[in-house]
């Protein structure tokens, strides 16, 4: 049964807590507040006792479906296990209770952690310069493209007006290009699901500022022509930006800088296992070449003679957030990287192995649009006559969070499965078992039958959005 709203449990006069009598003289609000700040009516708040509040929210929380309760194969956005050691590190009072306006000399430890994390990201990406300022992956994208724009402005190259976007891009990529003032131009795919190099060569010209590539791409396929793609762009004076949302497949195995990229963003909140998706905030650190380094957002951490300082890069695009980035996420990411040390590459190895295990076991029942091994996620299509949406609903009945569906857009009825590195063979077998069973289920259109909410009217939900009551 869906839970009722707490308002339905409200009874006039019922209280959870009573404030003690004030020990200072009472002042009528109208004496100290301007009229515009005064309510005309009392707020219509629910009136409930404390046990009712606790039970209401505890029961609601039991309806939650997340990585701590179930397998969560959410392709394209790594919902991975969050090691509790990360949480312990982020909760250390010396980190958790800092104020962003504290003077630098009082927060040397925090600045040192940021400096060291930047060094780790530099090592992982191969780029000499890092900024931890962006507050989420999409903001990291925007920051990167704004830096590229400023680079061309600074160089007096006014004609760079377009950004090329492969058909497998994340939806945020064309949005980023448009927000940064560029025209987004799509590049098609070859038969293997990779960027069509011939089409790229035709479309690159003196108006191209950058290509935004995700590697491995959103079909789970490694862009095997990445170095050629980079050289085509560089020949025309344009940059190669790499969307690092899929870095989970690359750690310790591929460095974007070595592959010819000029700038990238990380999703610390995905690749380095910090809570995300209805949980914690994001963190979209960027890494870039020497040429782009002066344009990084303000601030970056610099070390001189053992002292850490926040500085503004010489030609900075300015600030992209109120303070220095989402610091708690930096602590978690740093902790995760330190825990793995030189074995960080095993994260990617296991993620890729798990995705390929799922791919191999589904083969024969679910189609794969692209042959060959995948990276850390695999895109499959349901058998004829079955819709991806029905598979998703069937998974809910069988105790699994559905993967991403209908993305990437270039694959019909796409199911994008990303098992992540921490799942056991038994979990993957259970999931595959459910997927195979669903393919035979003749009553799938009725699913979910065991969830608190059954099929929702998505068209009505999108068109008659009721965001308040």
């Amino acid at each position: 049964m869906p839970a009722s709203l707490i308002r339905a449990k409200s009874r006039p006069g019922r209280r959870g807590y009573t404030l003690p009598a004030p020990d200072v003289p009472e002042v009528p609000p109208e004496k100290i507040l301007p009229e515009g700040a005064l309510r005309k009516e009392r707020p219509d708040l629910p009136e409930v006792d404390e046990p009712t509040v606790v039970r209401h929210y505890t029961n609601l929380s039991r309806e939650n479906w997340g990585i701590d309760t179930n397998f969560y194969p959410l392709g394209s956005c790594t919902m991975k296990h969050n090691p509790r050691a990360n949480e312990a590190a982020a909760a250390i009072p010396g980190f958790a209770r800092l104020h962003p306006l504290q003077p630098e000399e009082q927060v040397q430890g925090a600045l040192e952690l940021m400096h060291r994390l930047a060094a780790f990201l530099s090592e992982v990406s191969g780029f000499p310069a890092v900024s931890l300022a962006p507050l989420a992956g999409a903001q990291g994208e925007l920051t990167s493209i704004l830096m590229i724009r400023k680079y061309f402005e600074d160089a007096g190259d006014e004609g760079r007006t377009t950004v090329l976007i492969p058909a497998t891009a994340h939806g945020t990529n064309p949005a980023t290009a448009a927000m940064a003032g560029f025209k987004a131009v799509e590049i098609g795919l070859d038969e293997r699901g990779c960027v069509d190099v011939g089409e790229l060569e035709e479309k690159v010209d003196e108006t191209t500022a950058a290509l935004m590539i995700t590697n491995p791409n959103t079909c789970g396929v490694y862009e095997r022509n990445i170095e050629e793609i980079a050289s085509i762009l560089h020949r025309s004076g344009a940059f190669l930006y790499m969307d690092g949302a899929n870095m989970n497949a690359n750690l310790g195995r591929m460095r974007p800088s070595d592959a010819g990229a000029d700038i990238m963003h990380f999703n610390l909140h995905k690749t380095f296992s910090t809570p995300h998706g209805g949980g914690g905030p994001g963190s979209g650190a960027i890494a870039c070449s020497e040429r782009l380094a002066p344009f990084r957002p303000d601030p970056v951490v610099e070390e001189r003679d053992g002292t850490y300082r926040l500085v503004r890069p010489e030609k900075s695009i300015g600030r992209v957030g109120a303070f220095h980035g989402n610091f708690g996420q930096m602590v978690r990411a740093w902790s995760y990287i330190r825990m793995h040390g030189p074995d960080l590459k095993e994260v990617s190895d296991l993620a890729v192995l798990n995705a390929n295990y799922v791919r191999a076991r589904l083969k024969g029942t679910y189609d794969s649009p692209y042959e060959g091994p995948c990276k850390h996620e695999v895109v499959v299509q349901p058998p004829k006559g079955v819709k991806a949406l029905d598979v998703a609903k069937g998974l809910i009945d069988r105790g699994f969070h559905p993967p991403t569906i209908y993305f990437p857009l270039v694959v019909k009825e796409a199911l994008l499965i990303e098992p992540t590195e921490t799942e056991s063979k038994e979990t993957l077998d259970d999931f595959v078992g459910a997927m195979l069973e669903i393919a035979q289920d003749e009553r799938l259109e009725e699913a979910p039958t065991h969830a608190p909410v059954r099929r929702v009217d998505e068209a009505r939900a999108a068109r008659r959005l009721k965001a308040r009551w």
């Binding site: 949406l389 209908y406 857009l409 019909k412 998505e458 068209a459 999108a462 068109r463």
Partner: protein, 125 residues
């Protein structure tokens, strides 16, 4: 899938009804079925000039947002503004009340016959 014999089609699943120098354009029954429930249509302004292949708007469904491409060049004379309130008309009646724009077209364009379009659908299956 319904492919009316009196219309022309594009490879990107738009249909065209030509009456004199006015072309009415919408998306096909197959396109609406692939998209699922349509929740929003981004319509262009009347008076906009289009070249063949230009994107003139988009259709958003519960599954995806898809661009609309003009099969012909010309100037938009009318848009189906009732779709702003009732985008579901595209699902219910794609060749009738679900039409999207009318344009005064200029020049010829390569359009598919109903037979060719039917063949394209079979190939895509």
């Amino acid at each position: 899938m319904n492919v009316p014999q009196d219309l022309k089609y594009t490879r990107t699943h738009e249909w065209v009804r030509i009456e004199g120098d006015i072309a009415t354009i919408g998306i096909t029954d197959h396109a609406q079925d692939e998209l699922g429930d349509v929740v929003f249509v981004d319509l262009p302004e009347v008076g906009t000039s289009l070249s063949p292949g230009d994107s003139f708007g988009s259709v958003e469904s519960v599954k995806a947002v898809s661009d609309l491409y003009s099969p012909l060049g010309g100037e938009i004379t009318e848009v189906n503004s009732s779709l702003e309130e009732s985008p579901e008309k595209i699902n219910e009646d794609p060749y009738g009340e679900g039409w999207i724009i009318r344009l005064r077209y200029s020049g010829e364009a390569e359009l598919l016959s109903p037979e060719d379009y039917q063949r394209l659908l079979e190939e895509e299956q």
